[in-house]
């Protein structure tokens, strides 16, 4: 279905009189003016108006029918060097999702979701226009299965890309086990322009035998190139209240479409080992730190150190500071980010600074700075006004400004 038609369906759904909707209906509207900088357009300072609409409605005696929709229309007020799929002159539309979800369509056995929706299972996550079914309550307790099929949707550049005869289908089966353990097997296949483009299978395993230990494993196999595309093994240990230690080994390989020239190259895999610690002392304090070692081909590697804290000295005051340092293959990056938020009556005042020093391998380097401030005023339960401003100092601009002003309405 094309975007204008789907947007029309969303608008009609919102316009239905309340008695026809019954159940619980939530509608959110956000009208926004945005200003931003586009270094690839002749007019660097870009201005835009955007209208968002979101619908969330539940029906049925048990609230088992849910209709969800989310979309936006943007109007570009300035010229940009883009060739997007337009609804009209400088007018772009994007429908994120619009679906009906029926739990227990066949009581105790089958759930159905139809329309446009994000599908996260089945190994190739994507947005599709299609249908998903979930089976449960059959066979041994804890056994479940899902299947989906539909037209793949690519959201890009304010709109969505024209349909390229791209189809996606998949299935998964899961089994809940003892010791809060679970196994799930997934499969997905994608066709582009009528030909097989991607196909993969995956196995996910998780177990939390006690509240102190959790293990996760994931393996994904790319059937097109006949190789492992993703392997993950992770462990989390919580020896005392509030303290979590984690370790992780992750390996991945780039995946290309079946018709791509790149898939013929037997490239090395990326390998990452990570250890981290997080400590939470009630709401007032959270501390964390991690170290990751990344390994690339030909003895190239990189080290990444991250750390930070979130401090809430008063119930209405939050200070969040994070630090990241990476050095090795591809370049060096060191950055610190700080954020302060304070709630005064109906207003939330926020502000922050980002400071990133970067040195790309054999190319550009510099120091990027970002300063921002935001005010969010909840005028009433139904209305909120937000104003945000940001100043950037980057490699491309000595300085530029961006931000937005908006009105949210919750019905």
């Amino acid at each position: 279905m094309r975007i204008p038609r789907m947007m029309a369906v969303l608008i009609v759904a919102l316009a239905l009189p309340a008695p026809a909707r019954a159940g619980q209906v939530e509608v959110t509207s956000s009208t926004q003016y945005l200003r931003f900088a586009d270094f690839l357009s002749d007019t660097t300072d870009q201005h835009e108006l955007a209208q968002y609409l979101r619908l969330n409605a539940t029906f049925g005696e048990k609230g088992n029918i849910r209709v969800q929709g989310y979309g936006r229309i943007t109007g570009q007020l300035t010229e940009a060097n883009e060739t997007s799929n337009q609804l009209g002159e400088h007018l772009y539309g994007r429908l994120y999702y619009l679906s009906v979800d029926v739990r227990d369509l066949v009581p105790g056995l089958l759930d159905l979701k139809a329309g446009r929706s994000f599908v996260g299972h089945g190994t190739l996550p994507a947005i599709v226009d299609g249908a998903q079914v979930a089976l449960h309550g059959f066979g041994p307790a804890g056994l479940g299965a899902t299947a989906f099929a539909g037209r793949r949707v690519f959201l890009d550049n304010k709109s969505e890309l024209p349909f390229d005869d791209d189809w996606l289908m998949g299935a998964s089966a899961s089994y809940d086990l003892a010791l809060r353990s679970r196994a799930e097997v997934g499969w997905a296949r994608e066709y582009r322009a009528g030909a097989l483009s991607r196909e993969a299978v995956a196995l996910d395993l998780t177990t939390t035998p006690t509240s102190m230990v959790s293990l996760v494993g994931r393996a994904q196999w790319d059937l097109v190139s006949s190789r492992a595309s993703e392997l993950l093994l992770g462990v989390k240990v919580a020896p005392i209240q509030g303290l979590v230690l984690r370790g992780e080994v992750f390996q991945s390989a780039p995946i290309f479409d079946r018709d791509s020239f790149y898939r013929y190259f037997d490239v090395e895999q990326y390998l990452q080992g990570l250890v981290g610690v997080e400590y939470r002392w009630g709401p007032p304090l959270r501390l964390y730190a991690s170290y990751a070692r990344e390994r690339f081909d030909a003895d190239q590697s990189a080290d990444v150190i991250q750390g930070g804290f979130a401090l809430r000295p008063l119930a209405d005051l939050l200070l969040d500071v994070s630090y990241e340092h990476r050095s090795g293959f591809a370049g060096k990056l060191g950055g610190i980010r700080g954020r302060l938020a304070y709630v005064v009556s109906r207003a939330t005042l926020s502000g922050g600074v980002d400071y990133d020093d970067f040195r790309r391998q054999d190319s550009r380097d510099g120091t990027a700075k970002k300063y921002w401030a935001s005010v969010n005023v909840d005028i009433s339960k139904a209305f909120a006004v937000v104003v945000r401003a940001e100043r950037n100092e980057t490699f491309l601009f000595d300085h530029n400004y961006q931000g937005y002003a908006l009105l949210d309405v919750h019905l």
Binding site: Y70, Y96, L179, S181, T206, D356, R388, N392
Partner: protein, 207 residues
């Protein structure tokens, strides 16, 4: 033993430990307005590990892949769309706007245009979770090449020749770069014709 095999064995061992009857996630809809830090009030000693911590930004994809999962008990789908696809309804105050006016998640540092070359090397697959790598990268890179090729300021890598044949030093460099991060090549050279112009890789299939 290769690291690949070690990880497969570890995953299989995990499967063996876990194999036995069930336990299911509870419906959390009634707790939708609860702050994550208050979850421990119920979960302490319940056998469920704390989540929604700092690492959850990278870990949440594993939870979201589960079917069924209980993400929807507290979050609408727009919570996902706004981070993954540039929406600005469930916004984070610290999020900047991209050059196209789309809200960007916090994984995009200040001057994301300059730093993305470093960040993308870490795990290019994480970029592909929101961006279709074949189109998103080449669209912007092609525009920049058309507009100002020199402004790309990337490592010089045009082929050099000795006596009409590719310079062996350049060949070794080219091979090494491609093996370390082949996906980045695709950003500017999306199709085979970019490489076969000078008769390299003549026998390989694909477009």
């Amino acid at each position: 033993m290769s690291s690949l095999r070690k990880i497969f064995i570890a995953v299989a061992a995990l499967a063996a430990v876990a194999w036995a009857p069930p336990a299911r996630a509870e419906d959390h809809r009634q707790y939708a307005d609860t702050k994550p830090e208050d979850c421990t009030e119920c979960h302490r000693g319940s056998g469920v590990m704390e989540n929604h911590g700092v690492a959850f930004q990278s870990d949440h994809r594993l939870a979201a892949r589960r079917t069924p999962n209980n993400c929807g008990d507290c979050h609408l789908e727009s919570w996902c769309s706004d981070c993954h696809h540039g929406g600005n309804l469930d916004r984070r105050p610290s999020s900047s706007l991209s050059r196209r006016g789309e809200a960007m998640p916090s994984s995009h540092a200040a001057d994301a245009v300059s730093t993305h070359a470093i960040k993308a090397a870490q795990d290019a697959r994480s970029c592909a979770r929101c961006h279709d790598s074949g189109r998103f990268c080449s669209d912007c890179h092609a525009k920049q090449i058309d507009r100002n090729r020199g402004g790309m300021t990337i490592k010089p890598h045009a082929p050099t020749f000795l006596g009409g044949l590719p310079d062996p030093t350049w060949v070794a460099f080219h091979r090494g770069e491609a093996r370390r991060n082949l996906a980045s090549c695709q950003a500017c050279h999306p199709s085979k014709s970019d490489c076969s112009n000078f008769a390299c890789h003549p026998s390989l299939g694909g477009r």
